[in-house]
Every structure is written in C-alpha cells, then in structure tokens.
C-alpha cells in the first residue's frame, strides 16, 4: 500500500493538516488534497511558473516541491491574496488588462507580491527579472509589467 505522510503547515495564515502521498508534488497536494485550486498545472517540469507559490516567503515552483517537505512551513498562494479585499496587485491586473486567458495570473501575482514585499519600489528591470520565471502566452508581458509598476508607484487603487 502506498505510504502517506502527515503534513502540518500553514496555508495563507491558517493551520492545515493533510496526508501527502509518496512522491506527491506540492501542486497536486494543494489542489487535490487541500482544495486550493489557485496554483495551476502548466508544464509539470518547472518551466512555466503557473504553479508558483511562496514557501516561507520565497517563490517556489510547487510542481517541483515534494509535498511532505512543507511540513512545519508557511505556504502562501494566490488565493490568500484576496482576504478579505482584493490585493492592490489584483486590482491593477484588472485595470491594466494584465490577464487574457488568466492561466498564468495566479503565478504572476505570487511572483509580483514576493517582489513588492521584498522591494516596494522596484525598477522596470527588477519587475521584468521578478516575473522572468513566469510564462504568459497572451499579453506580451507589457500590461503585466505596467500593472506591477502601477502598484509600486502608488498609481493603482488600493
């Protein structure tokens, strides 16, 4: 029988406990085991960034994280950004048409939030660098960069 490992962690500030299957990745664990559907499955090989989450404040590709390794850690996902009101980044993404199909958006938001938490006034180059691990096939990136810069420069509605 497949072994299951208990995992106690915080998800967006709330204590959670669930069982991880042997070799299960964090993305599948969050989506199927815990019910947080905001991280997306894109490539499953660490290329696209759609599954980006924060583990202890650092951006990680949840498809490449072994689920059991987040035991005792703090995980944040895009679904934790809007509690209770939308994060200024989410508002700015809407206002700047920074999402088209929307599949990359949760990962983009997590990468952008990690940047602004670390560096509230990033340059355009720093924004580009921060989202360089997140692929978007719709927007051409410019609206996303503009949305993040708008929040950084205080031009977006909070």
């Amino acid at each position: 029988m497949m072994a299951k490992t208990p995992v106690n962690f915080t998800l967006n500030g709330n204590d959670r406990a669930a069982f991880a299957e042997d070799g299960q990745n964090l993305l599948e664990f969050l989506r199927r085991g815990v019910g947080d559907m905001s991280p997306k499955y894109g490539c499953g090989q660490g290329t696209c960034g759609a599954c980006t989450v924060l583990v202890d404040g650092e951006t990680h590709l949840s498809c490449l994280v072994l689920a059991e390794t987040v035991d005792g850690k703090e995980v944040r996902t895009a679904s934790g950004l809007s509690s209770p009101a939308l994060d200024p980044l989410q508002t700015a993404f809407m206002e700047h048409f920074a999402a088209q199909c929307g599949y990359c958006t949760p990962g983009m938001l997590v990468s952008a939030r990690a940047l602004l938490d670390r560096n509230p006034r990033p340059s355009r180059e720093e924004v580009i660098e921060a989202i360089s691990g997140n692929l978007c096939r719709c927007t051409g990136y410019e609206p996303i960069i503009q949305a993040i810069l708008a929040v950084a420069e205080g031009r977006a509605r909070a």
Binding site: G23, N25, H60, C63, L64, E129, S132
Partner: protein, 267 residues
C-alpha cells in the same frame, strides 16, 4: 512508477542509501521532474542535515555545502564574484530551489554554475569518503552514480582572474546556447595554470584544452585572445537541440570566448 521517499537525518545515512541505488533529492529541480513523469528511481532519499546548506569561507578557501541554493549564493556578499553566474541560472523560483550540488548533475544544456566551478578548479567532497576529488573527475563520472556530493571547495580567485559568460536567446531567463568560464592566474604578467570551461558544448561541462594551450604562458592581450578564439572549438563536440545546432555552437564559440577574455583584459 511511484517512488518511495526516505528522509534521513544525516549525510552519512543518505550516502549509504545512495550507495544502495537510491536517487538523492536535493532542491528538486531535476529529480522532481522525473518523479512527475513517473521515470524516477523506485527509491529516493533526502536529508534534513543542516550541514548541506553551510557556506564556509576561511581565508581564501570557499566551501559550499551541496544544498546551498543559487539564491543563497546571491545573498552572500563574500561570494560576489559568483553572482554573475548564479544570477543567470533559471528564473527566480529555480534560484530559490536549485542547489550547487544539483547543478553538477544538471543535464545538457543546463549546469552553468558547474561550468564556473570547473574553471575555478573546484574539488568535490563526497559524503562518507575522506578527502576531496577534482571536479573534472566527478563531471566525467557523473552518469555513473559516483556517490553523494557533500560540499564543493575552491580557492577564491584573485580580482580580474575569473570570467564567465552565458549566451541565451531569451533574456533574462533562457537556457544556454553555450556558457564559458575561465580562470587565468598571472605570474609576472604571464598566465600560469589557465583553466577554460565550456557548458552546452558537449554532454556536460568540459575543459577547453585548445583555448588553455593558446593562453598558457602568454600575456592576456589582443594577440593571445585572437589565437585562443581561433582554436576555441577544437576538440568540442556539441549537440544539436532546439536552441542551436552543433555547427552553430562551434561557429560562435570563439566569438564568445573572445568577448569574455576581452572583458577580463579590461578588468
């Protein structure tokens, strides 16, 4: 196939599991891809041993635990000479996860940090084995399960003697068309003990013997750089992949070696 994951407290226990055929799980950026694809080994071992993440700097000797991430290298001001290398590995998420030890085993066209370590003449400390072995040997044996890497040690290069260049089609995050690195120590203005290393110019990181021969014993000037560039691709057998053909890689190797050496010459 589903893999069984064993978590152990020490590097010694992990090394014993690796000796029995288990695959070591470090940052996850290589092994987890295989786990997701169902092609990983039946048995995987990981360790919570904190020594894996140690960065020790003693005099001019730098020792990086195999589990040190690219982000940790970038956060360390004493390792500034390696920042241009670590910064060009993957995107931000990969740099938060990918490790120095794992980079030694990254398949083509990855492994740019290992290229720099090869140029630096690093030595690799294997868990459960005495002493350290030259990185050249480890890279040559890397497909034959050489054991578990515990740490990598090397001498800090003198200012102006170390160079690195990575060529990608996509910026700021793209895989290598090629990468090249050099350590050119000088004695009385002459290069003594030249080491040149290439990435994506073969199955794994490898020495550029022809360029080293052209540089050894010479002053680093336009004439020497021209001679090294002219013979750069000799003995190299790069692959054709989605990024570049083998012909293209050989054709541009000298151009990029020249650019890196000119940058080193300018200091």
């Amino acid at each position: 196939m589903t893999s069984t994951v064993l978590t152990v407290a020490t590097m010694g226990e992990a090394a014993r599991a690796v000796a029995q055929g288990a695959t070591f799980f470090g940052g996850g950026t290589i092994v987890m891809r295989d786990v997701n694809a169902g092609t990983a080994a039946a048995s995987i071992v990981r360790t919570t041993d904190p020594s894996l993440k140690d960065i020790r700097i003693s005099g001019d000797t730098v020792t990086l635990g195999a589990g040190v991430t690219m982000a940790s290298v970038l956060a360390n001001r004493d390792l500034e000479f390696l920042h241009p290398v670590a910064r060009l590995v993957g995107g931000p998420q990969i740099r938060n996860m990918g490790t120095v030890g794992g980079n030694l085993f990254a398949p083509h066209p990855y492994g740019d940090f290992a290229v720099a370590l090869l140029a630096l003449g690093a030595r690799v400390v294997m868990a459960g084995q005495g002493g350290a072995r030259p990185i050249d040997d480890l890279l040559r044996d890397r497909s034959r399960s050489p054991g578990l890497v515990a740490a990598i040690e090397f001498a800090r290069p003198r200012p102006g003697t170390f160079g690195f260049l990575k060529v990608s089609r996509i910026k700021p995050k793209g895989v290598s068309v090629l990468s090249v690195s050099a350590l050119l120590p000088r004695e009385g203005g002459r290069i003594r003990g030249a080491r040149v290393a290439w990435g994506a110019m073969g199955a794994g990181p490898q020495r550029g013997s022809s360029a080293e021969r052209a540089l050894e014993g010479q002053s680093l000037n336009a004439e020497t750089i021209g001679r090294a560039a002219a013979t750069a691709a000799e003995g190299l057998n790069p692959a054709t992949d989605a990024i570049a053909t083998d012909w293209y890689r050989r054709e541009v190797a000298g151009v990029h070696l020249k650019r890196m050496l000119e940058q080193m010459e300018r200091g």
